[in-house]
């Protein structure tokens, strides 16, 4: 391929390139030419810096030549060389050339180029641009803590109001149903027997009595949506078949049974309350209740999200 671009005519091609008048082939050839002639000091990267319709003035061309580290300082580009010196971009060799030119041509204007000084202005609302670093989480955890304390109180008071109840084979209680009141039961007890019972209790609380008493009074209050009265099914001859009821006897087995029943009721209440709270807060809730046993204290433990609450409970 015949080379069109030479040292003699490259400037015309260069200007045409800047104006966008070259074909793709000519443009590629110009780029190759410039890469092959670094002494011309026209960087290929610098080609698109002017708008296509802007002609390159003579002094701009001088500027392009002037501040390549390989360029020489001449009278033509000396104004830009002075700026370059002020900007600190001249090489040592160029600085010496500039100094020599100034010495030889005292008429050259060497006045430093003015630089701008930033005015003393401050942004009037700087604080409004800042963002809050504190988080809203603590408020949420406070509420969770309050809920946890509430649940703990419910559990504490529920467990203190239970009185041992002996299950009787003739008294069928619906499983896990609370006994609201014993008034109706006591009304059904014959008055004479009731009087005897009171008398016996006053004499010796540990004496076994043989009078029929199908239901032991219970003062147990539990929160249920629909309390159900206990069903008492008596045999055909209740006096013969009703077994002995031992009052105030602290039978460990019986106690254990009652505790299990109470625990079952408490678990129901807690499961209901915790599930509601967990749903509302969208936070997992875990709890564990350990009853007091002998010398060891019981413990109520709650974990709501990251918040943990525990309380020792005496017997």
């Amino acid at each position: 391929m015949k080379t069109l671009i030479t040292i003699a005519n490259y400037e015309a091609f260069y200007l045409d390139e800047l104006e966008g008048n070259l074909t793709e082939e000519q443009s590629a050839e110009l780029h190759c030419f410039l890469l092959e002639h670094p002494e011309l000091a026209i960087s290929v990267d610098s080609l698109p810096y002017l708008e296509s319709n802007e002609l390159l003035p003579v002094f701009e061309k001088a500027l392009l030549y002037a501040f390549n580290p390989a360029s020489e300082i001449t009278l033509e580009n000396i104004p830009y060389a002075i700026i370059a010196q002020q900007e600190g971009v001249l090489t040592k060799k160029q600085t010496e050339q500039l100094a020599e030119l100034i010495r030889n041509n005292p008429t050259i204007d060497t006045t430093p180029y003015p630089t701008l000084v930033a005015p003393k202005l401050s942004h009037p609302n700087k604080e409004q641009l800042k963002k809050q670093t504190s988080r809203i989480v603590p408020i949420r955890w406070l509420s969770i803590g309050a809920v946890a304390a509430g649940i703990a109180l419910i559990v504490t008071f529920n467990s203190k109001q239970t009185i041992p109840v002996e299950k009787h084979k003739h008294v069928k209680m619906l499983a896990n149903q609370p006994i609201r009141s014993h008034k109706k039961n006591s009304e059904k007890t014959p008055k004479k027997l009731e009087a005897k019972q009171q008398g016996l209790i006053s004499v010796n609380s540990y004496i076994s009595c043989s009078f029929p008493k199908p239901v032991t009074p219970v003062e147990q209050v539990h929160i249920h949506e629909k309390p159900i009265e206990p069903q008492i099914i008596l045999p055909e001859n209740p006096i013969e078949n009703v077994p002995t009821v031992v009052l105030n006897e602290l039978n460990p087995q019986t106690n254990g049974l009652i505790i299990q029943n109470n625990a079952a009721n408490n678990d129901d209440v807690l499961a209901l309350v915790t599930s509601i709270i967990a749903t509302k807060l969208n936070t997992p809730i875990d709890y564990k209740i350990t009853k007091a046993n002998g010398n060891e204290k019981g413990e109520i433990y709650f974990k709501i999200g990251r918040f943990e609450f525990s309380r020792k409970v005496s017997k």
Partner: protein, 161 residues
């Protein structure tokens, strides 16, 4: 970048960006808008921005906001620069600096921007090139042209006076 880093960036760079924006826009209200917009954009991406590159990121954003705003203003109306002029008239450097800033307004926005970044913030050519998305040669040429224009303007005024 954390929220604390962001707040520190506001503390450190709100004023320089505001000064840059005032000089670019010649209007304090518009400059405040540019600062607000700049920090809002940075906040949106603050988790992806490295704290040590925040200054460059802020000035790049401010530069683009200022250029966009200037284009809009040129389409709608001329900018009222009285408030900025009044401020400078109270300055002790009124003579030279006021004239220089007056001359600055005669420059094309790109030249104005690069010379402000160079003189106000002392950015290197490569840093200015990164902010303005030009190459270093272009930045150099724009700065040299701007300096030449400013000097010629001052010289003319001195001759008239």
């Amino acid at each position: 970048m954390t929220t604390n880093d962001y707040n520190k960036a506001v503390e450190d760079y709100a004023d320089p960006i505001y000064r840059y924006a005032v000089s670019m826009m010649r209007n304090k209200m518009l400059a405040e808008d540019i600062v607000q917009e700049t920090f809002a954009k940075v906040w949106v991406k603050h988790e992806q921005i490295q704290a040590e590159k925040i200054k460059s990121y802020l000035f790049t954003t401010a530069y683009h906001c200022a250029i966009d705003s200037l284009k809009k203003e040129q389409k709608t109306s001329t900018i009222d620069d009285t408030d900025v002029t009044d401020q400078r008239e109270n300055s002790h450097h009124f003579d030279l600096q006021a004239q220089l800033h007056e001359a600055l307004d005669k420059l094309p926005s790109i030249q104005k921007s690069v010379v402000l970044l160079r003189d106000y913030e002392g950015y290197s050519y490569s840093e200015i090139a990164a902010i303005t998305e030009l190459n270093e040669s272009q930045v150099k040429v724009y700065i040299f042209r701007a300096r030449q224009t400013l000097k010629n303007y001052i010289r003319k005024i001195e001759l008239i006076a």
